[in-house]
Amino acid sequence: MMAMPMESPISFTNVGRIRWWQRGIFATQTGYVLLALAVLLVIMHFASPYFFTEGNMQNVAKNFSFIAIATLGVTFVIITGGIDLSVGSMMCFSAMITSMVMTELSAPGSPAGSLFVHMAADGKTVIANVPGLILLVSMLAGLGVALVAGLVNGFCIAVLGLSPFVTTLGMLSIVRGLGYVVSNGRGSFPGGPDADYFYALTSGDVLGLPVPFIYLVILALAMAVVLHHTSFGRHVFALGGNEKAAELTGIPVVRVKIEVYVICALAAGLQGIIISGWLGSAPANMATSYELNVIAAAVIGGANLAGGIGGPLGAIVGCVLLEVIRNGLVLAQVSSYWQQTLVGVIIILAVLVDRIRSRMT
């Protein structure tokens, strides 16, 4: 292997063993925010005896799952050094389209509906096809619009080279506006024979665990694998670390960028559909200004808006932290006026814990 004689062997005598506390999660912001979260949980336990009840824990698990899936998506974008402000609107629009399509397809008279349902003699609606088909088609419709919006975002950013902030801010406005246009400002409701499947799939429980939480866990695991064990994930990180270098080393930068914005939009769309299933409605003002929460959750969990750093665990930890603060303050019966102030203070304190690490090294 070695073509030339060696003067002295290559060795790393000046490198010691990396201790457990210098490695893995302990070397990241995520680990320290997790620590802050633990402290917060203890405080909340003392602030309200009901905090650690099973019912409340289930609630917390469900509530944070409601933004966590979108946070996973936005984390992809943040790792590449981008930002997506359209997640809130996207949630709403996908949810709205899903329920509208579902309602439309379930109306026996309507042109599209006649393919899927017909009216029985007794005036009841009967499914003409496989049960669940309506649900499938309407969810695909909802995710389809998310896909389109994600493609447009990705195209503007990757191909035309527009700033992600401006593009997705524009998309925020466009998608929210379209939501008002298609529903005439009213929002929509899931309906028809498949609505019950829909509710079961979005707000049911399995073995005491809320289903959104289960989806979240599955998606987070998938995301961990994709980020750390596929070349797509590698390229996402490389892009965030040094876009120029990524381009020069032959990474298909444009494709990767479009893909992350599509993933983000799809995650937001899915999230919106799940929320609307739980709400039983897709109001036109649903998820207004959730984008800041979602991005904040990712950043609090350790993703870096400058790019190159982030992961699913951090996204989830950030979401849990935000939800525990929200839920805990209500449980502790803090005055609503002070709540908002405290939310801000606790957020800052939580990320401050991470500085312990930097000071120690």
């Binding site: 009901y50 109001p283 003002n285 209500v330 449980l331």
Partner: protein
């Protein structure tokens, strides 16, 4: 259309105002010679509303009906519009002391009082109660909160700490807050959302109410909710709430057109028109749903 009348909501993202809009559009069509323009800030924010009014003054529209986001701010805007020769009325939320010609809507204080009285009537034995409000900035909501408190003053009802919570008009958040408050105070005997927000999320509301269904049925937990949109009535019919007290936004929209037209024609109009409240319980819900 001979006349262009504008109806300016506090926030376009609130479904309540859709009914006012629909009423306005229907009436405008009936009257024939009127165009109804519906436009306001997307979120509840007073400065944006003031700017929108200014734009309509520039356009020289024929009349404005405003749901006032902030009294002091609107007083100035209304003065500017009036100075430009545009008649202004208010609906839903008033700006008393401004140059508005008329107010059409609910007396919010009375609205709150009605909510409180309804609760006291259903549960004279009293207990702990909490409220859910939309946002701390809205004056009409603050009046409703005061109304509820006033109605329950001297009764056996006591308000818990941390009430009202503010859901920022977000249905999901409203349901989450109700769940949390119930967890925080297991012997909470009533929740009074002073707007329909939690019920705008019917499944979420159902999930919350189902978990407390036993208490609701046995009269240990009471839900008196403001507003009477269709989905709310359905929820009441199915036993997920005890009573609703509603305003009549559709009527507000209709009357706003009538009043502006009357003003344009030089007729005298009453300064205050209360559109009234609907009290809905199990007994009359079927009738309301027709």
């Amino acid at each position: 259309a001979n006349y262009r009348f504008v109806i300016v909501p506090k926030a376009m993202n609130n479904p309540f105002f859709d009914f006012a809009r629909d009423g306005c559009l229907k009436r405008a069509k009936e009257l024939g010679n009127i165009e109804c323009i519906y436009k306001g800030p997307v979120e509840h924010e007073p400065a944006t509303q003031a700017q929108i009014i200014q734009d309509f003054v520039t356009q020289k529209v024929d009349g404005l009906a405003i749901s006032v986001a902030d009294v002091a701010a609107m007083t100035k805007s209304i003065e500017a519009a009036t100075a430009a020769g545009i008649p202004v009325i208010t609906f839903d939320a008033d700006a008393p002391g401004s140059k508005r010609i008329a107010y059409i809507g609910t007396n919010n204080k009375e609205f709150g009082v009605a909510l409180g009285k309804q609760l006291a009537k259903m549960r004279p034995d009293g207990g702990k109660y909490a409220m859910v409000s939309g946002g701390p900035g809205a004056k009409n909501l603050a009046e409703r909160v005061d109304g509820v408190r006033e109605a329950l003053k001297g009764s056996k009802w006591t308000e818990v700490a941390g009430s009202p919570t503010f859901c920022n008009d977000d249905p999901a958040l409203a349901v989450q807050q109700m769940t949390d408050m119930r967890t925080a105070t297991p012997d909470l005997a009533a929740i009074v959302p002073i707007g329909g927000w939690p019920m705008f999320a019917p499944e979420g509301f159902k999930a919350f109410a189902s978990r407390n269904k036993k208490d609701i049925d046995s009269g240990k937990f009471t839900l008196v909710v403001a507003d009477t949109l269709r989905m709310q009535l359905e929820l009441l019919r199915d036993g997920y709430a005890n009573a609703l007290v509603g305003q009549r936004p559709f009527e507000m929209g209709e009357k706003a057109m009538d009043t502006l037209l009357a003003i344009k024609k030089g007729e005298k109009v009453p300064e205050i028109v209360y559109t009234g409240l609907d009290l809905v319980t199990k007994d009359n819900v079927a009738q309301m749903l027709k």
